[in-house]
């Protein structure tokens, strides 16, 4: 096993685990903003309980999002020191902006939101959640700016073998950015909506006492998921044009791809410049899942007179469909990332020049260690989430009144 393959495997593993959590974070925080706003505006206890129940699931999910995100950030320096050496001047900027301007504030706000129940005024508390959501979207934007630059390097010039930034606006208007950002955000909303619909469906199937509460969440989740699957499809297909133009080798051959390969062979020497087939196979499956989830629209008419709940089988469908958007999200990233092989920065920096000079033994130990660590933590996290989801909204720890005995199942009164 060579260092390059091990480093790529580690990147793929960490990124995939990371994305499974951030996609839920981004989707749920949007729904939470809606729920808490509804609570503050209408003062209905039901919305407070929904905010607490879904807020707790959101916070549990967030834990692994941070943990894997920190590994991601360090991985660039640990395993890909060539990346920072040759293109760090350009690629580093959006990452630095993301951590300082977005993630830093997101975490600070979230800490205050968790511990601010019953302590801050309701308006301030709600504003904190808005802060969390806005900075989460800002994070997604800057990360996609950085990723799009790797897909299609723009706004730079190479002097002494090192890329220097010349035009930052080119990074922001990158053709591989716009539709991809919309696609990712829509996918996050889809995952959030599906999760909310599926968990509520589970409660309605088990006939837990909180019927009205889970019915509301089911409706919110299903409508969100149906609207966002259409956006996912739209932004997804809209990408083929611009991405095919800037990355001709991504979706298989063609005259453009042949010309580019010939040019690379002249500049970088002989080599295999076509991405592995794995990428396009995954893409096919992702599109298949995307079309299947489009049938969510067929469930919407069943919301009339709660037929969706009375018939029961649509609830089972929602429950079993829950893994699909997650699988599609991973396949989508594989198509995007594996599709730019053998490049770290497309047409500019090959992966074998970007990998760190550490030995294969150290890299293997790091791969096994972090995969086991993050894998175990991810599974533990999902088990905890599933348990809390199954426990229901009787009395989540989040937002519990301090003097409140924990075993008391009474619903919380609204706090003025």
């Amino acid at each position: 096993m060579d260092t390059l393959l091990l480093a790529r495997l580690q990147f793929a593993t960490t990124t995939s685990i990371h994305f499974l959590f951030v996609v839920v974070t981004l989707g749920l925080v949007t729904l939470l903003v809606g729920l808490q706003t509804a609570w503050v505006l209408t003062d209905k206890p039901a919305y407070e309980r929904l905010t607490r129940f879904w807020g707790q699931l959101y916070v549990i999910n967030y834990v692994l999002g941070i943990a894997t995100g920190i590994v991601m950030e360090f991985q660039f320096g640990l395993n890909w020191s060539g990346l920072s050496r040759y293109v760090g001047n350009v690629f580093g900027a959006p990452l630095a902006i993301e951590t300082l301007v977005a993630f830093f504030l997101e975490s600070t706000f979230l800490g205050m939101w968790i511990f601010g129940w019953h302590r801050l005024r309701r308006g301030v508390h709600l504003a904190l959640l808005y802060g969390v959501a806005i900075t989460a979207y800002a994070s997604a934007f800057w990360i996609m700016v950085a990723n799009s630059w790797l897909q299609n390097p723009v706004g730079y010039e190479v002097r002494d073998g090192i890329a220097h930034l010349t035009d930052f606006t080119a990074l922001l208007t990158n053709p591989s950015l716009g539709m991809a950002l919309g696609h990712v955000i829509a996918a996050a909303l889809l995952v959030g909506g599906m999760l909310m619909a599926a968990v509520s469906a589970g409660h309605l199937l088990r006939r837990t006492p909180d019927f009205a509460l889970h019915r509301t969440a089911l409706r919110i989740g299903l409508v969100t998921a149906a609207l966002s699957i259409t956006m996912v499809q739209g932004f997804g297909f809209a990408q083929f044009g611009p991405v095919g133009e800037v990355q001709p080798t991504k979706f298989g051959g063609g005259p453009g791809a042949d010309a580019l390969v010939a040019e690379w062979t002249a500049r970088f020497g002989l080599g295999d410049y076509t991405p592995p087939v794995l990428a396009s196979v995954g893409l096919g499956f992702m599109i298949l899942i995307g079309f299947s989830l489009g049938t969510l629209w067929l469930l919407l008419p069943l919301l009339w007179r709660d037929w969706i709940i009375r018939l029961r089988f649509p609830l089972w469908l929602l429950l079993f469909a829950l893994p699909l958007p997650f699988v599609a999200a991973i396949l989508g990233w594989i198509a995007r990332e594996v599709g730019r092989q053998p490049w770290v920065a497309y047409g500019l920096l090959p992966t074998d020049q970007a990998v760190s000079g550490v030995g294969p033994g150290v890299m293997l130990a790091s791969l096994i260690g972090f995969t086991l660590l993050l894998g175990t933590l991810a599974v533990t996290n999902w088990v905890l989430m599933a348990r809390h989801a199954a426990r229901g909204a009787a009395d989540p720890a989040l937002g519990r009144r301090p003097e409140h005995p924990p075993a008391d199942p009474r619903p919380e009164p609204a706090f003025a």
């Binding site: 920190i70 920072s84 760090g88 830093f104 996290n381």
Partner: protein, 335 residues
């Protein structure tokens, strides 16, 4: 220009060591607190600050990547085992603290507490080793390649790692003496008072081993500054001890905070103008100016991030202000 960015980077990392340091110190002290209620009280004393503390590390590394891309690659890859150890520790603490109270059973919680203790130990050891590794130089070749990892395993690195462990333990105990309800703070203050001399001894051992190490002597560019800052570190610890004895936990906390920030300044200032000194090829040593991103990148970062720094600090200050004072049983309990 580069100096300003290097100072900003140092400030972020030092703030992380100060704020994250008490997270890890409290984490280490869980090992001594066997009663579940007291453990939970300690974790919720950190409570609202925890996420805002850890994020300084993320910001510091973001700044490192944006403003010093060359240093980022060579520093992290060159000190691979130390960075990986610290990283694993940070992850264990982050996950352990946030998830430990989600299971209801005492046994599951005790297991998560062990995760927090091990994570805190690894994180403190790791960051100590990273700072010591910088101070003793790495076998950096002219192509930016650092050969092997065995260069890291020296007595000085081990002693520095242990010194940071002792420092964060004393810092964490002082934080608890400041923040826990008055009745519970008294025994914690006694623990802190006992931990300060341990930290002094550990720092002394690391300093002696550093002075005896040829590599450290060769790498250090400004020994006078190093001795001066070491003196400041010792003075801060002595001040913490006096303040604890006089029941002034606020002053003691300020002193232990200085003691955790000084090592960063010490490494940065004694190596200046270098950021990373090579032990094999003097010409391959990386100066701060060479490691910095080129002009347009730094200007862009300056325009986009520096105007926002007051907002970052303001929201952190808001968090400290909202949750100031001792925990009193009226604050929400979540961790």
């Amino acid at each position: 220009m580069e100096l300003a960015w290097y100072a900003l980077l140092g400030a972020f990392f030092a703030t992380y060591l100060v704020l994250g340091g008490y997270d890890y110190g409290v984490g280490l002290l869980l090992a001594r607190r066997t009663d579940p209620a007291r453990r939970r009280a300690a974790l919720n004393a950190v409570g609202p600050f925890f996420l805002g503390n850890e994020v300084w590390l993320v910001a510091a590394v973001g700044l490192l990547f944006g403003a010093f891309p060359l240093l980022e690659g060579e520093l992290l890859a060159g000190l691979y085992p130390a960075v990986v150890g610290a990283l694993a520790g940070v992850i264990l603490v982050t996950v352990g603290v946030q998830l430990r109270s989600r299971p209801a059973g005492d046994r599951a919680r005790a297991t998560w507490d062990r995760v927090v203790v091990v994570g805190s130990l690894l994180a403190a050891l790791g960051w100590g080793a990273v700072l010591a590794g910088m101070l003793q130089g790495v076998p950096l070749h002219a192509d930016g390649h650092v050969a092997g990892v065995s260069h890291l395993f020296t007595p000085f690195v081990a002693a520095a790692g242990l010194a940071v462990v002792a420092l964060v333990a004393a810092h964490g105990a002082t934080f608890l003496a400041l923040r826990l309800p008055a009745a519970d703070a008294e025994p914690t203050a006694r623990t802190a008072r006992r931990l300060v001399p341990v930290a002094l001894a550990a720092v002394g051992t690391a300093a002696v081993l550093g002075l005896l190490s040829d590599r450290v002597r060769a790498a250090v560019q400004r020994p006078a500054v190093g001795v001066l800052l070491l003196g400041l570190l010792v003075a801060a610890l002595l001040a913490a001890r006096v303040a604890l004895a006089r029941r002034r936990p606020g002053l003691a906390f300020a002193a232990t905070a200085i003691a955790l920030a000084v090592p960063v300044a010490l490494v940065g200032a004694t190596l200046w103008p270098y950021a990373l000194v090579s032990t094999v090829d003097a010409g391959a040593s990386l100066t701060v100016a060479d490691a910095a991103a080129s002009g347009p990148t730094l200007r862009l970062l300056g325009w986009l991030t520096v105007p926002l720094l007051p907002a970052l600090l303001g929201f952190q200050a808001m968090c400290w202000w909202v949750f100031r004072g001792r925990t009193d049983g009226r604050a929400p309990v979540y961790w």
